[in-house]
C-alpha cells in the first residue's frame, strides 16, 4: 500500500513542477501568462496529494506524520491548502512565487522515502553529480553578482540620500543597479532551484534516505529557502532599494556558509 501512496505523491510532484516553472518564468521574464495552466495543475496535484495522504492513513492506521518523509509531505499539503485559501479569499495570486516552489520541493523530498535501485551506470552518476555542482557554482556566481550590485546600490543610495552628489561619480545609476540585481537574482534563484533538485535526486539514488537528516543538507535547504523568500519579496511584495539590497547580502552570506559546510559533505554521503 505504501508504494501506491508514493506513486500518487510522485505524480503530484510532477504536476507541482509546473507551478515551479511558472514561478521561475515570473522571476526571470517578469510575465505571468503561465499562471492559469500552472494553477490548474496545482489543484490537480493537491487532489492527488490528498489521495496519497489518505492511502497512507489507511495503510498505517493513523495520521501519517511519524517520520520525516511523512511530515514533510503533510506539511507541503497543508501549505498548498493555505495557499489555495489565501488565493480564494484575498485574490493574492502573486503569492504563487513563494508557494509553488516551496510546495514542490517539500513534496519532492516527501516522495523520496522508498529507495530506488542503484545507478544504471557509474558514468551517469558522476555526470549527474557534476551537473549539480556546476549548477550550484553558477548559481553562487549569480548571487555574488547580485550582492556586489547591492553593495554598489547601498553606496549610491547613501550618497543620494545624503546629497553628497557633487564632484565625479563613476557608479552606475540606481535604476540600472536595481535592474541588474533583479536579473542576476532571478537567474541565481533558477540555477539554485535546479541544483537543489539535481542534488536531492542524486543523493536519493546514491544514499537512499539516510542523507536527509544531515545538518549540512539542512543548511543548503535553508539557503535556498532564504533565496526563495528574497525572490518573493522582490517580485511580488515590491521590496526594492535598500532593504532588498541588504537581503541579497544576507543570501550571499548564507550561500557562503552552505559552501563551507559542503566541503566536508562527501564522506557523509558514502554508503
Amino acid at each position: 500500500m505504501q508504494e501506491l501512496s508514493i506513486f500518487w505523491l510522485r505524480t503530484a510532484v510532477v504536476l507541482y513542477s509546473l507551478g515551479l516553472a511558472h514561478a521561475l518564468i515570473t522571476v526571470l521574464r517578469r510575465e505571468t501568462t503561465w499562471f492559469r495552466p500552472a494553477f490548474g495543475a496545482f489543484i490537480v496535484a493537491v487532489i492527488l496529494h490528498a489521495v496519497s495522504l489518505v492511502e497512507r492513513w489507511f495503510a498505517v492506521g493513523h495520521l501519517p506524520a511519524e517520520n520525516f518523509f511523512e511530515s514533510v509531505s503533510l506539511c507541503a499539503f497543508l501549505m498548498a491548502l493555505v495557499y489555495l485559501y489565501v488565493y480564494w479569499r484575498y485574490q493574492f495570486a502573486s503569492l504563487a512565487v513563494l508557494a509553488f516552489p516551496l510546495v514542490f520541493i517539500m513534496a519532492l523530498l516527501g516522495a523520496t522515502e522508498i529507495p530506488v535501485a542503484a545507478w544504471s551506470s557509474p558514468r551517469l552518476r558522476d555526470a549527474w553529480l557534476l551537473l549539480h555542482v556546476a549548477l550550484v557554482l553558477l548559481g553562487y556566481a549569480a548571487l555574488f553578482l547580485t550582492a556586489s550590485a547591492s553593495v554598489f546600490y547601498l553606496v549610491e543610495e547613501r550618497k543620494l540620500k545624503r546629497k553628497a552628489v557633487g564632484g565625479f561619480n563613476r557608479l552606475p545609476p540606481l535604476g540600472t543597479l536595481d535592474n541588474l540585481i533583479n536579473r542576476s537574482m532571478g537567474i541565481g534563484f533558477a540555477l539554485l532551484t535546479l541544483a537543489i533538485i539535481a542534488g536531492a535526486t542524486w543523493a536519493y539514488i546514491e544514499s537512499g534516505t539516510r542523507w536527509i537528516g544531515d545538518a549540512k543538507v539542512a543548511i543548503s535547504f535553508a539557503t535556498w529557502g532564504l533565496c526563495l523568500v528574497m525572490v518573493f519579496l522582490r517580485t511580488s511584495a515590491g521590496w526594492r532599494g535598500r532593504k532588498a539590497a541588504i537581503m541579497s547580502l544576507a543570501v550571499l552570506g548564507s550561500s557562503a556558509l552552505t559552501w563551507v559546510a559542503h566541503v566536508g559533505l562527501r564522506p557523509a554521503l558514502m554508503r
Binding site: 549610491e156 543620494l160 540620500k161 546629497k163 552628489v165 557633487g166 564632484g167 565625479f168 561619480n169 552606475p172 545609476p173 540606481l174 535604476g175 540600472t176 536595481d178 535592474n179 515590491g238 521590496w239 526594492r240 532599494g241 535598500r242 532593504k243
Partner: protein
C-alpha cells in the same frame, strides 16, 4: 611677422560694453575681409559671442598691431577708441597662442568648461577661411586650438557634471533612474524655474509632463507648452503614484505634500523610486520625506550645493587643463619656429654654395686641366668649407627655434649672410 590678439571678455567688460561691440553675423565676414586687407596684416579671424570679442591677426613686425586692432574695432563698431581702450587686452606670440587655446578649451569662459565656445570658434574659423583670411601661421594655430580643446575635454573632466540648477536636477534624475525614457513628471506650480527643469527633462526623453497649479489658467498655458495633461490642484496627491519625478514650486505657504501622504504614495507604487524636487521657498514638501526609503527629496539648497561642488570639481580639472595647454603652446611654438627656420637654413646653404662656385669659376682657368682625382678634391674642399661655415649659424638657428627671442637671431643671421626671402 608675428601673431597678435586683441579682445575683451566678461572679465574686462560689462555686458553693456560687450553688447555694444558684438558683431552681427552678417557684418562679421566683411569685417574679417577688411581687416586682412589692412596694410601689414596677413591673416585675421574675429570671434564674437555674447561673452567676448576676440580679434587675432598675423602682421608684419613693423606694424603697431595693438593700436591698429583697437582702432579697427572702434571704427567698425562705431565707438570712441579712447573709451574702448580701457576694456581691451592685448596678447602677442606665445601669449596669444595660449589665449586662443584657453578660449577654445573653455578655460576662459564664464561657465568653466561650457561646450558652446568651441563651436563658436569653429564658426569664426569657417568665416575667416571662406574670406581667404587664414593662409598660414594663424590657420595652423587655430586648427591646433581645436585639437587642444578636444584633448582637454578627453583628458580632463572639465565638461562633466551640471553647473546650473535645472541641469543638476536632470543629472540627479539620471543618477536615480538611469534612463529617463518613459518616466512621468508632475509639475506643481507653473513657474519659470520648474519650466526650465521640465524642458531639460523633456529633452532627456521623459514620456509625460503633467501640470497642476492653483490657478487653472497658468496650468493650461504650461500644459500646452509640454503637450501634457492638467491635474486638479486639490487632488494632485492621487496621481502621485504614477509619477516618477515631481517638481514643486508652488507659492503655497505650507507643506502641500506631507510625509504621511508620501508614505502611502510610495506604497501604492510598490516602492518604485521617486525623485522629488522642491524648488519653492517656502518649501512645498515636508523635508523628512527624504527619510523614507526609495524617495529622494532635493530642495533648492541641495541643488545649489551640488552645483557649487561641481564648479569646484571643474576648477580642479581646469588646473590639469592649464598644464595640457602649456605643453601644447610649447609644442606649437617649436613646430612653427622650425617651419620658419626651414627656408632660412636652405637659403643660407644656397648662398654659401653660390659664393663658393662663383669664386671657383673665377680661378678655374688658372688651374688648367684637372685629373678626376683633383676635380674630386676641389669639390670636397668646397663642400667642406660650405658645411664648416654654415654649421655654426644652422646650429644656432635650430637652438633658437624654441627660444622666445628667436626672431631677432633669425633676422641677424638673415642680414649677416644676405639671405633674402
Amino acid at each position: 611677422m608675428k601673431l597678435s590678439l586683441t579682445g575683451l571678455n566678461h572679465n574686462t567688460a560689462p555686458v553693456e560694453v560687450r553688447e555694444r561691440l558684438a558683431f552681427q553675423p552678417a557684418l562679421l565676414a566683411s569685417a574679417v575681409y577688411e581687416l586682412c586687407h589692412t596694410p601689414g596684416v596677413q591673416e585675421s579671424v574675429i570671434l564674437s559671442t555674447c561673452n567676448r570679442v576676440e580679434i587675432a591677426v598675423t602682421a608684419d613686425d613693423s606694424v603697431d598691431v595693438s593700436s591698429t586692432l583697437s582702432d579697427f574695432l572702434a571704427r567698425v563698431r562705431e565707438v570712441d577708441p579712447q573709451w574702448l581702450r580701457q576694456y581691451l587686452y592685448h596678447h602677442q606670440e606665445k601669449d596669444a597662442i595660449r589665449h586662443l587655446f584657453r578660449v577654445a578649451s573653455s578655460l576662459d569662459s564664464m561657465v568653466l568648461g561650457e561646450p558652446q565656445i568651441l563651436g563658436q570658434l569653429k564658426d569664426a574659423y569657417e568665416v575667416a577661411k571662406t574670406q581667404g583670411a587664414l593662409t598660414g601661421f594663424l590657420d595652423t594655430v587655430m586648427t591646433r586650438a581645436f585639437g587642444v580643446a578636444k584633448r582637454v575635454r578627453s583628458e580632463t573632466e572639465i565638461g562633466q557634471n551640471a553647473v546650473s540648477i535645472s541641469y543638476a536636477a536632470v543629472e540627479l534624475a539620471r543618477q536615480i533612474f538611469g534612463s529617463l525614457r518613459g518616466k512621468k513628471v508632475l509639475i506643481i506650480g507653473a513657474g519659470k524655474m520648474s519650466e526650465l527643469a521640465a524642458r531639460h527633462l523633456e529633452r532627456n526623453g521623459v514620456s509625460e509632463i503633467a501640470v497642476t497649479n492653483r490657478s487653472p489658467e497658468r496650468a493650461q498655458a504650461m500644459a500646452e507648452l509640454f503637450r501634457g495633461r492638467i491635474v486638479d490642484y486639490q487632488n494632485f496627491v492621487s496621481v502621485l503614484p504614477e509619477m516618477d519625478v515631481v517638481i514643486a514650486s508652488s507659492g503655497a505657504p505650507h507643506f502641500i505634500l506631507t510625509r504621511e501622504a508620501m508614505r502611502k504614495v510610495i506604497g501604492a507604487r510598490r516602492n518604485r523610486p521617486m525623485f522629488l524636487i522642491d524648488i519653492a521657498v517656502p518649501r512645498n514638501i515636508e523635508p523628512t520625506i527624504n527619510e523614507l526609503d526609495n524617495v529622494f527629496l532635493y530642495d533648492i539648497d541641495d541643488l545649489r550645493t551640488a552645483v557649487v561642488q561641481n564648479r569646484k570639481g571643474r576648477e580642479q580639472e581646469a588646473q590639469a587643463a592649464e598644464r595640457i595647454i602649456s605643453d601644447e603652446v610649447e609644442r606649437t611654438l617649436t613646430r612653427l619656429k622650425a617651419r620658419e627656420m626651414g627656408p632660412v637654413i636652405v637659403g643660407l646653404q644656397q648662398q654659401l654654395e653660390a659664393v663658393c662656385s662663383g669664386e671657383l669659376e673665377r680661378v678655374r682657368s688658372k688651374l688648367g686641366t684637372l685629373t678626376p682625382q683633383q676635380q674630386e678634391a676641389v669639390d670636397a674642399l668646397m663642400r667642406g668649407i660650405v658645411n664648416k661655415v654654415a654649421h655654426g649659424p644652422i646650429a644656432e638657428l635650430r637652438r633658437q627655434a624654441s627660444e622666445p627671442g628667436g626672431h631677432t637671431v633669425i633676422e641677424v643671421i638673415r642680414r649677416v649672410f644676405r639671405i633674402d626671402g
